[in-house]
C-alpha cells in the first residue's frame, strides 16, 4: 500500500510537470487548430494594448466598462471635445463577472466621477469563459483572476491560465493585437472601424436569459461603486434593428436593469440604419459619432456631464 501511495504521488508530480511542458508546447509550436481546450492566440479587441495603456493613466472623468459594445461604442475623442476625459475598459464578451473585476481593479486608480456600465443582455446568460480567456491571454493574471477562473471552472481556462502565467514571467510568445482587418486602436481604449459588413436581416426569435450568477456579480459590482460613492449609469448601446427585434423579452430585460439604477436603452432612444453598423451587433465610426453625441446630450440633460465640467 505504501509503495502504491508513494508511486502514485511521484507519478502525480511527474505528470503535472509533463502537463506544464506540453501546455507550453501547445502555446508555442502546435498550430491553433490542434489546440481545442486552449486559447492564447490573440483576440479581436486590442485588450492587451488597452490594459497596458490603463496602467499608465490616472484620474479620468468617465470610465466605460462592458463588452465589445463598450470598446467599439464610446469614442474618447468625441467625449474630449465636450471636455470629458474618459477611458474605455471594455473587453471582448465581457460579462458582468469580468466587469466587476475590471472596475474593482481600475476604478480606485482612475478615480472617475462617473462610470458607464454598458450592458449587452446576451452576456448575462453566458458563463464568462470567453471573456475570461481574453483577459488572461492579455496578460491580466492576479489572485482575483485566478479566483474568478475557479468560479467559472473550465479546463480551457485552466490550460490558458497555466500558459499565461508562464508567458507573463518568461515572455515565450508575443500575442497578436487584433485579427480584425480595418480596426484601429485609439488611445483611451477605443477601437475604431469604418467598415460595414453585410449581415443577416432576419434572425430566429429568442429570449435573453439572465443567469443568477451573472446578475449577482452585476449587482455586486454596482454596490462596490456605490460604496466608493462613484456615480454610475447603466446603458444599453444600440445594435442593429434586426438583431434587437429578434429578442422577445426586451421589455422584461429593461425592467430588470431599471430596477438596478439609472438606465437608458439606446435601442429605444435611437433608430440607426444598418449602414451605421460594423456588423449586426456593433456600431461603426459613423454610428458611434451619432450615438456618442446623443449620449452626451442625454446625460448632460440629466446633469451628469454638467457636474463633471464644473468639477474640472
Amino acid at each position: 500500500m505504501k509503495k502504491f501511495v508513494f508511486r502514485f504521488f511521484f507519478f502525480s508530480v511527474f505528470c503535472s510537470l509533463f502537463y506544464v511542458v506540453l501546455i507550453l508546447l501547445y502555446g508555442t509550436i502546435v498550430p491553433a487548430s490542434f489546440a481545442v481546450n486552449f486559447n492564447y492566440f490573440g483576440g479581436m479587441g486590442f485588450t492587451r494594448q488597452r490594459f497596458d495603456e490603463v496602467s499608465k493613466i490616472k484620474n479620468v472623468d468617465l470610465v466605460v466598462a462592458g463588452s465589445s459594445h463598450a470598446y467599439r461604442g464610446y469614442d474618447p475623442r468625441i467625449f474630449k471635445k465636450s471636455g470629458i476625459s474618459m477611458f474605455n475598459l471594455g473587453s471582448s464578451s465581457q460579462s458582468p463577472l469580468q466587469t466587476r473585476y475590471v472596475l474593482g481593479k481600475y476604478v480606485t486608480k482612475l478615480k472617475p466621477k462617473l462610470v458607464i456600465v454598458d450592458v449587452y443582455p446576451v452576456l448575462f446568460g453566458v458563463d464568462g469563459l470567453e471573456s475570461q480567456i481574453d483577459l488572461i491571454s492579455s496578460g491580466l493574471i492576479d489572485k482575483d483572476i485566478i479566483a474568478l477562473s475557479f468560479k467559472i471552472n473550465n479546463i480551457k481556462l485552466y490550460n490558458t491560465l497555466l500558459f499565461g502565467a508562464f508567458n507573463n514571467e518568461f515572455h515565450i510568445k508575443k500575442q497578436k493585437l487584433s485579427d480584425n482587418e480595418g480596426d484601429t486602436y485609439i488611445p483611451g481604449g477605443y477601437v475604431q472601424s469604418f467598415r460595414h459588413l453585410q449581415f443577416k436581416k432576419t434572425r430566429f426569435k429568442q429570449n435573453v436569459n439572465i443567469s443568477a450568477t451573472q446578475l449577482e456579480a452585476f449587482k455586486a459590482g454596482l454596490n462596490e461603486l456605490r460604496s466608493q460613492q462613484i456615480k454610475f449609469v447603466i446603458i444599453q448601446a444600440p445594435f442593429s434593428r434586426s438583431n434587437y427585434a429578434s429578442y422577445q423579452n426586451n421589455d422584461e430585460i429593461d425592467r430588470v436593469f431599471s430596477s438596478l439604477g439609472e438606465y437608458y436603452n439606446f435601442n429605444k432612444i435611437l433608430n440607426l440604419p444598418d449602414s451605421m453598423y460594423y456588423d449586426d451587433s456593433h456600431l461603426n465610426q459613423r454610428g458611434v459619432n451619432i450615438y456618442n453625441a446623443k449620449l452626451i446630450d442625454t446625460l448632460s440633460k440629466r446633469g451628469h456631464f454638467r457636474r463633471l465640467s464644473m468639477n474640472n
Binding site: M1, K3, F4, R7, F8, F11, F14, C15, F18, Y19, L22, I23, Y26, S33, F34, A35, V36, N37, F38, N154, I155, K156, Y158, N159
Partner: protein, 480 residues
C-alpha cells in the same frame, strides 16, 4: 455522481484510503464501508430511488432465504415467481409503462377507437435494469439449485449495490462476485496499478472518443433530414464510435475501480469492432448482458439444441428481448431484430463459432480476408446503430434512405475537426495493437523504462485535458 466528474475524483481516493486503512479491522467493516459508499454514490443521483434499490435488495435477499427453507416445491415456486414478478413489475412500471400505454392507444386509434391512458411522468431510476438483473440471476440460481442463498445481508447488499457496477454494469453473477465479497482481500500492488491504468484508458475512451464523437453524431441525428448521404454516413460512424467509447469506457472505469478494492468484475468488452462476423461481435460486445441472456433465456428456451427452426426462433427471441431491455422504444426492438437477422446466416451455415480466437493473433496486420470480414461486420453494426440512435423508426428509415444515394459521394457538411479524426485513427490503432490484452493499454510499455511509461500515461492525461468536451455528458447506458 459520474465517473468522469470532479466529485468522483475526490470520492474514489477517500473511499480507497479508508478501505485499506481499516483492512486490519476485518472484512466485515470493509464491506460495510463499501456498502455505505455505494448507497451514497447512488443517492447522489436521486436519494428517493435508494429506497427502491433497498427494497429490491430486501425482496431478493429474503426470497432467497425463504426458498431455501421452503418445505414444499409449490411454496418455493410461489416465492420464486413472486420475486420475478415484483422485480419485473418495477422494471415494467418505471421503464415500460408509457411505452405500452402509447403503443396500445396508437394501435386502437388505427381502428377509430380512442383510448385515454394517463402517462406516468416518472424519472427512470438510474441503473434499474442492471440491479434488477443482478437480483434476478441470484434468485434464479437459487431456484435452480446452482447456489445457496447468502445469509449475510451486508454481503448480499454489496453484491447488488457495489458502486462501480451499480448503474451500468457489468452485470455480475452471484457465483462470481459473492465469493470475492466474502473473501479477505489483501492489497495487491500490481492489481491496483492495473486498475489505475484501466481507469485511465476508460476515461480516455469516454471523455475524448465518446464525447467528441457525440458532438457530431448529435448534430446529425438531431436534424437528420437536413443532411446529405455523406454527412449522415459520417454521423452514423461517429455514433458507432461514441457508443463504443462511452460504454466500454464506462466498463473499463468500473472494472479498474473494482480492482483498486481487490475485486475482479466480469469483462464486458473485448474489442468488438475487430470482429469477423456478427456472432463474434456479440461474443465481444456487452459480454455480461449477452451471457446473462444466454444463461437465463436462450438455454432455458432450448438454446442451440433442437432443430434449425427452433434455433432461429430462439435467436430472434433473445435479440428482440435484448433490444427491448435497452429501452422502451420500437427502435431498440428493430435494432435487436436486425442483429438477429444479421446473425442468422451464420447459424444456418453453422459458422457462428468459426471465429473464437483473437483476430490475427500474434501478427501485426490481418490478412486481406480478415480485413474484409472485419469491414463488412463493422458496416452491418453501423447500420444497426442507426436504429438504436434514431428517435423513431421513421427517422431511421429516412436516414438509411437518404444515405444510399449519390450524395454519399459528396463532401460531408461541417466535418469534425481534423485533429479529432486523427485522434480517432490513433485510438483505433492502439486498440488494434492492444487487442490481445483485456483492455488496449494493459500491456503497453510494461517493459519500457519507467520514465517512458509514465510519459505515455501523461500524454493520455494531457490529451484528456486538451480535448475533453467542456460541457460534459452522461453515459449513454445510464438511460437503460
Amino acid at each position: 455522481m459520474l465517473f468522469n466528474s470532479l466529485n468522483f475524483a475526490f470520492f474514489l481516493p477517500i473511499i480507497f484510503c479508508l478501505y485499506w486503512l481499516i483492512n486490519k479491522n476485518g472484512l466485515k467493516i470493509q464491506n460495510i464501508l463499501l456498502l455505505a459508499a455505494s448507497y451514497y454514490f447512488y443517492s447522489c443521483w436521486d436519494y428517493r430511488f435508494l429506497f427502491l434499490l433497498i427494497f429490491s435488495t430486501l425482496l431478493d435477499y429474503f426470497t432467497g432465504l425463504k426458498m431455501e427453507d421452503a418445505k414444499s416445491l409449490k411454496l418455493k415456486r410461489f416465492l420464486f415467481w413472486l420475486s420475478v414478478t415484483v422485480n419485473l413489475g418495477f422494471l415494467g412500471v418505471f421503464k415500460y409503462y408509457n411505452f405500452f400505454a402509447e403503443s396500445l392507444i396508437s394501435s386502437f386509434s388505427h381502428f377509430g377507437i380512442t383510448l385515454h391512458a394517463s402517462a406516468i411522468n416518472v424519472i427512470l431510476p438510474v441503473g434499474i435494469s442492471f440491479y434488477t438483473f443482478h437480483g434476478l440471476s441470484y434468485v434464479i440460481d437459487i431456484y435452480k439449485g446452482r447456489i445457496k442463498p447468502e445469509r449475510n445481508f451486508v454481503d448480499y447488499s454489496l453484491f447488488v449495490s457495489f458502486f462501480p457496477l451499480l448503474v451500468a454494469g457489468p452485470i455480475e453473477r452471484a457465483t462470481h462476485l459473492l465469493p470475492q465479497i466474502k473473501q479477505k482481500r489483501v492489497f495487491d500492488y500490481s492489481k491496483a496499478i492495473d486498475g489505475c491504468r484501466q481507469i485511465l484508458w476508460g476515461l480516455f475512451k469516454k471523455v475524448i472518443i465518446a464525447d467528441n464523437c457525440a458532438e457530431y453524431a448529435n448534430m446529425v441525428f438531431n436534424h437528420s433530414s437536413n443532411y446529405t448521404g455523406s454527412t449522415l454516413a459520417l454521423g452514423a460512424l461517429m455514433f458507432t464510435f461514441q457508443i463504443y467509447g462511452d460504454f466500454s469506457g464506462y466498463s473499463d472505469i468500473a472494472i479498474g475501480t473494482a480492482k483498486l478494492f481487490g475485486i475482479d468484475l466480469l469483462r464486458n468488452f473485448a474489442f468488438p469492432y475487430f470482429s469477423r462476423d456478427m456472432a463474434e461481435f456479440w461474443r465481444r460486445w456487452h459480454i455480461s448482458l449477452s451471457s446473462w441472456f444466454k444463461d437465463y433465456l436462450y438455454i432455458p428456451l432450448g438454446g442451440s439444441k433442437g432443430n434449425l427452426w427452433m434455433r432461429i426462433r430462439n435467436t430472434f427471441i433473445i435479440f428482440i428481448v435484448s433490444g427491448f431491455w435497452h429501452g422502451a422504444n420500437w427502435t431498440f426492438i428493430i435494432w435487436g431484430f436486425l442483429n438477429a437477422l444479421f446473425i442468422i446466416p451464420s447459424i444456418v451455415m453453422k459458422t457462428n463459432r468459426n471465429n473464437l480466437e483473437i483476430v490475427a493473433q500474434g501478427r501485426l496486420l490481418p490478412s486481406f480476408k480478415e480485413l474484409m470480414q472485419m469491414v463488412s461486420t463493422f458496416s452491418l453494426t453501423v447500420i444497426a446503430w442507426i436504429f438504436f440512435r434514431s428517435a423513431s423508426i421513421g427517422q431511421a428509415f429516412q436516414i438509411i434512405g437518404d444515405l444510399f444515394n449519390r450524395s454519399l459521394f459528396t463532401a460531408p457538411h461541417n466535418p469534425p475537426r481534423p485533429v479529432m479524426l486523427l485522434i480517432l485513427v490513433v485510438f483505433m490503432a492502439v486498440e488494434w495493437i492492444g487487442r490481445e490484452g483485456r483492455y488496449a493499454i494493459e500491456n503497453v510499455g510494461l517493459r519500457w523504462p519507467p520514465i517512458l511509461r509514465w510519459s505515455f500515461y501523461s500524454i493520455i492525461i494531457v490529451f484528456i485535458g486538451m480535448y475533453m468536451q467542456t460541457g460534459g455528458s452522461d453515459f449513454i447506458y445510464f438511460q437503460f
